[in-house]
């Protein structure tokens, strides 16, 4: 696997975890599985941290109807 493909695969796995956590609280068994995955390699932890940050940031942006359009169109 190329480095790029590996990075992509890890990112996707990290996203799976973040989305799973969002959909329902992890039970103990699933939480342990996540911990095991994270403990396996620093790359896993980095990917998860990145996914967590992206996930959090997307939750902090005001939604379309929460924001006032300050400028029309993109510049």
């Amino acid at each position: 696997m190329t480095e790029f493909a590996r990075d992509d695969a890890l990112w996707n796995t990290a996203l799976d975890w973040v989305m799973r956590e969002h959909e329902e609280p992890l039970d103990d068994k699933t939480h342990t599985a996540l911990c095991c995955w994270l403990a396996e390699a620093p790359e896993h932890r980095q990917a998860y941290e990145q996914a967590r940050t992206v996930w959090l940031m997307t939750g902090l942006v005001p939604t379309v109807d929460e924001q006032t359009e300050t400028s029309s169109g993109d510049d």
């Binding site: 990112w11 996707n12 996203l15 989305m19 956590e21 969002h22 959909e23 939480h31 342990t32 996540l34 911990c35 994270l38 403990a39 620093p42 932890r45 980095q46 941290e49 990145q50 996914a51 967590r52 940050t53 992206v54 996930w55 959090l56 940031m57 997307t58 939750g59 902090l60 942006v61 005001p62 939604t63 379309v64 109807d65 929460e66 924001q67 006032t68 300050t70 993109d74």
Partner: protein, 170 residues
Amino acid sequence: MREDEELLDLESVFVAHRRLCEMAASILGDRARAEDVVQDAYLKIIATNEVVTVKKPVAYIHRIVRNLAIDRYRRARLESDVFAMAEEGGQVPSASGTPEAISIYCQQLSVVAGALKQLPERTRRVFELYRVRGCTQREIAKMLNVSPTLVNFMIRDALNECRKALDSSS
């Protein structure tokens, strides 16, 4: 404005503050950490207003507190089990109130807001339904009359775009 009206307004501010703390405490199970999250949310909301104008601040701040509390709860749960995570994470979340942290936050927020804005309208709608409204992928699929596979794809697409935007901005 009459004095009693001012007092009334002030009181509603305190009530609102207490509600936010209670909500955060119910997620975190800890009053002190809840106060922390609410303070952090206040700083973030002020910073957010520099980037985009928030139209419904009350609903918005509830969501910010909730999301920050959930994030912190999950992180704390993992950190106690995978103890090494905290030391190598790169981002140091504990210093969230410093001017530097706030300026990084502003920058990241505007990048992510920009990336979401660039999404096709339907993708953005699907993502908001999932991320903010808490709809399940199945519910969204039914609502929009598309396949759950497509919904899953659009959610990932939105997150991928935000990641790309953040990567190329740092």
